[in-house]
Amino acid sequence: MKPISRRSFLERSGTGMAAAAAIPALEAPTFQSRPLPAEERGREIHLKVNGKDHRLEVEDHWTLAEVLRDHLGLTGTRVGCDRGECGACTVLLDGKSLYSCSYLAVWAEGKEISTVEGLAEGTQLDPLQEAFIEHDGPQCGFCTSGQLMSAKALLNSNPNPTEAEARQALAGNICRCSNFNRYLEAVLATSGKGGSRG
């Protein structure tokens, strides 16, 4: 098997991005916080997401996942079960991993939230993201954002985890393609390089 150099995979990743950009966009999504109709009683909250402040009108029973996806357009946070079983919706709340499908948006008032969209800084990927590509983490990719955020929370608190610690930290993130070992390789490779940024 030919080893993959960092350089060649970055070039290829760039190709992927160019290809995607070259594909004409489908219907442009309309993501804006809209005033709620009369039948939906709202309440105003403030959220800080990926360093950006948002003022939103939400209903009490809306989940954080729902608000991120449907009202802030941050669809990188996936909903796989909507009942706290699969981990696809994992985000960071004040630096700790959280199932955003099982947390009400109103509870997040004043808290700092990080989603997968906030991992990269400009065009610079987080080392975890680079390692996920290099080690072929995503198969279908639906659980990937959650795996990344759980891994990020782990490396934030424990920059050099053992294999057992990493498995434990990711235990709440199911991958039905069952690419668990690839994800683990990627996390351990990142920690071995001196840990993740931030």
Binding site: F132, Q139, C140, I174, R176, C177, S178
Partner: protein, 707 residues
């Protein structure tokens, strides 16, 4: 061994990896349209009941509700939901807990969910049956007129066939048993296991005039496109199916879904885009999982272990609708002069059963690999030697394979695994913690057939590759790009893949049956030949010029059969006091011909193995026998594998040369799950000396067996 190529065969990260790790990949549920409505489905709480009346008045008057469909006002047939019976979107009677009763669209998902509760349904409950063999007993309630034995189906015909078991015969069974030194009989049982892909089913339908666009997670945009057009009675050009990223399916997102049709119909009635989202529980109970089976074997052998006769009578519980074949396969991997298999697919009032990765194989291999392992044990023959003696040389002992690395997989695997060193007689270890090893072999058809590709070369040297794949997680976009780069002799960074949209791509075979590489990949090779001829004739395109080549080959195998093979070796540790099984070592050896991308192929094999371990050790959709209600739908209840459960999985490819397919590539996706359950069951037997004959191999069964 295959000759080295420039691009193909070198590990290459996915070309869309960046989109997948940044959250930018657009899955169907991520698409939002202005003015969009949300739809929800009301489902039967009874396993079998006649609907006497539905009152939707209160629900229709509820805030935000725009339309409601029931069997009274919507008679659309979902033709890919049943290949034998007329299955409507909404059926009366309802035939399983979860059968759709009504669908409604409202201005948001919460209002839709609230309004569902206001629909009043009066049911007359009917008798129900959950088990396939019970369903075939005299006096069992008839789920469809004509009885519960589902007819023979052919995938090429929608005409109902004979009400007979699917039967295969070669040789003379009675002669074979008479010629045998020993005859063994046993019975094995496998359970309903859900595909449990991460992305729940969703459909977004949008009409612009008389043109319908559906965003839906599908394993085959071309099939889905055809099915939607047929069921809605629309011309093909009036339907567009889009699936840019797809969150797994493992066989339960083939063709079109009832959700696609419901969303389309609700969108038509309301004049607004409609997004229908299924919950995880609905996805578990209301789509489909692997069919449960019971398998009765009778096997005759000579003293030296040579197989003389194999008989198998099997039952498959298909649920109340016939989406798929219901086969039980595995006997075909062994040479034997006298064989008879009979399979009875039966209607039941459980969740529908249909395709899940390697559809008829993992459960069938569990059965045949278990009884053959038992025979090897009784005859004191090493299982590796038993396999080398008895595995298939020709398909059904008569048709040559295009290539076969099966024997080589066994030999190399046994060596890499250090089989002889690890081997001990079954149940021979002392103490409560015991280890054991096992192997099983299998394969999967690597057929060839019709698919299309369009190549467009521009003056900048960019090669635009239009292929109708959705990439269900296999890495198909990358595989297609690698094949195109190799065939054209250009670098990967020149290739642009256009996929996942029926308005922009030609026909592609569905991403099921491990066919995409062999079918669509080969179409790329053929189109590239044409493009190279054009280049030679007219030179590279200049300015605004492009060169375009298309190919839709229909290759044939000329009297041969094409297969991928897999031989798996596993060592387990069994705690006989607490009943736990832990995998210590796993080796998967595969002949998939030439490997196009070792990086993604290895991931697929690892994933298939781990899915198989879940089936072997954990997963089963349990039903309450008194009410017919499923008890554990969802990830937690199904106990799917997680990061803390998985062993390291070593993958080794035996790359045999094959004259068909793109550069000799055979099937990769499905073979990895095929031998897993059989290999694990045999390893557990080797550890504890007792055979577990019913899946999954849970703690209670281990403790029951050893006590």
């Amino acid at each position: 061994m295959v000759e080295e190529l420039k691009t193909v065969g070198h590990s290459t990260p996915r070309i869309d990896g960046l989109q997948r790790v940044t959250g930018r990949a657009t899955y169907s549920a991520d698409v939002q349209l202005p003015n969009m409505l949300y739809a929800r489905v009301l489902r039967s709480p009874h396993p079998h009941a006649r609907i006497l009346g539905i009152d939707v008045a209160r629900a229709l008057a509820a805030p935000g509700v725009k339309a409601i469909l029931t069997h009274e006002n919507c008679r659309l047939v979902w033709s890919s939901g049943d290949r034998v019976n007329k299955r409507y979107l909404f059926n009366n009677p309802v035939r399983f807990v979860g059968d759709a009763v009504a669908a409604l669209a409202a201005t948001n998902r919460h209002l839709a969910e609230e309004a569902l509760k206001l629909i009043q349904v009066e049911y007359e409950t009917l008798d129900f049956v959950l088990d396939a063999e019970e369903a075939l007993q005299p006096g069992a309630v008839e789920i469809h007129p004509g009885g519960n034995l589902s007819p023979i189906i052919s995938f090429r015909s929608t005409e109902p066939g004979k009400r007979e078991p699917s039967t295969y015969v070669r040789g003379d069974l009675e002669k074979g048993f008479a010629a045998s030194d020993f005859v063994f009989e046993d019975r094995y049982v496998s359970k309903h296991v859900n595909n449990a892909q991460m992305e729940p089913r969703v459909a977004l339908a949008h009409w612009e005039g008389d043109k319908l666009t559906v965003w839906t997670p599908t394993q085959g945009i071309a099939n889905c496109h055809r099915d939607i057009a047929r069921d809605l009675n629309l011309a093909l050009e009036k339907v567009r199916v889009v699936c840019q990223y797809m969150g797994g399916g493992f066989g339960n997102k083939n063709q079109c879904q009832d959700t696609d049709l419901m969303a389309a119909q609700l969108a038509k009635e309301t004049g607004r885009p409609v997004k229908l989202e299924l919950s995880r529980k609905e996805d578990f109970v209301c789509v489909h999982g692997r069919w449960p089976t019971s398998q009765n074997y009778k096997v005759g052998v000579l003293k030296d272990g040579t197989l003389q006769a194999i008989q198998m009578r099997g039952y498959s519980g298909m649920g109340p609708y016939r989406k798929s074949g219901g086969g039980i396969s595995g006997v075909e991997y062994f040479r034997c002069p006298n064989v008879k298999t009979e399979i009875y697919p039966a209607y039941t009032n459980m969740a529908v059963s249909a395709n899940f990765r390697g559809p008829p194989y993992p459960q069938g291999v569990f059965g045949i690999a278990s009884i053959l392992d038992h025979i090897a044990h009784e005859l004191k023959i090493d299982p590796v030697d038993f396999y080398l003696k008895n595995v298939t040389r020709k398909f059904r002992d008569s048709i040559p394979y295009t290539s076969s690395g099966l024997l080589e997989c066994i030999r190399q695997g046994a060596k890499l695994f250090e089989w002889k060193k690890r081997w001990h007689p079954a149940g021979s270890q002392q103490g409560p913690i015991k280890t054991g090893i096992g192997l099983a072999a299998g394969g999967f058809g690597a057929s060839v057939g019709r698919s299309s590709a369009v190549l467009r070369l521009d003056s900048e040297g960019r090669l635009w590759l239009h292929v109708g794949v959705t990439d269900i997680g296999t890495g198909a976009k990358t595989t297609m790009a690698l094949i195109a780069a190799e065939a054209m002799g250009i670098d990967m960074d020149k290739v642009r893949v256009i996929s996942g949209d029926t308005d922009r791509t030609p026909y592609s075979v569905g991403e099921s049956g491990s066919r995409t590489t062999s079918y669509t990949g080969y179409a790329i090779v053929e189109a590239a030949k044409d493009l190279k001829q054009q280049l030679a004739a007219s030179g590279p395109p200049q300015g605004d010029e492009v060169l375009i080549a298309e190919a839709t080959p229909s290759p044939r195998l000329e009297g041969k059969v094409r297969y991928s093979f897999a031989v798996h070796f596993v060592e387990v540790e069994v705690d006989t006091e607490l009943g736990g099984v832990r995998v210590l070592k796993y080796l998967a050896v595969h002949d998939s011909g030439r490997i196009i991308n070792p990086l993604t192929a290895t991931s697929q094999v690892q994933g298939g193995v781990i899915q198989g371990l879940g089936m072997a050790l954990h997963e089963e959709l349990l039903y309450d026998e008194n009410t017919g209600i499923p008890l554990n739908p969802g990830y937690y209840g199904a106990r799917v594998m997680t990061h803390v459960d998985v062993p390291n999985v070593e993958v080794h490819f035996v790359e045999t040369e094959d004259a068909y397919g793109p550069f000799g590539a055979k099937a990769v996706g499905e073979p990895p799950i095929v031998p897993v359950v059989g290999a694990v069951a045999n390893a557990v037997f080797n550890a504890i000396g007792k055979r577990i004959k019913e899946l999954p191999i849970t703690r209670d069964k281990i403790i029951g067996a050893v006590s």
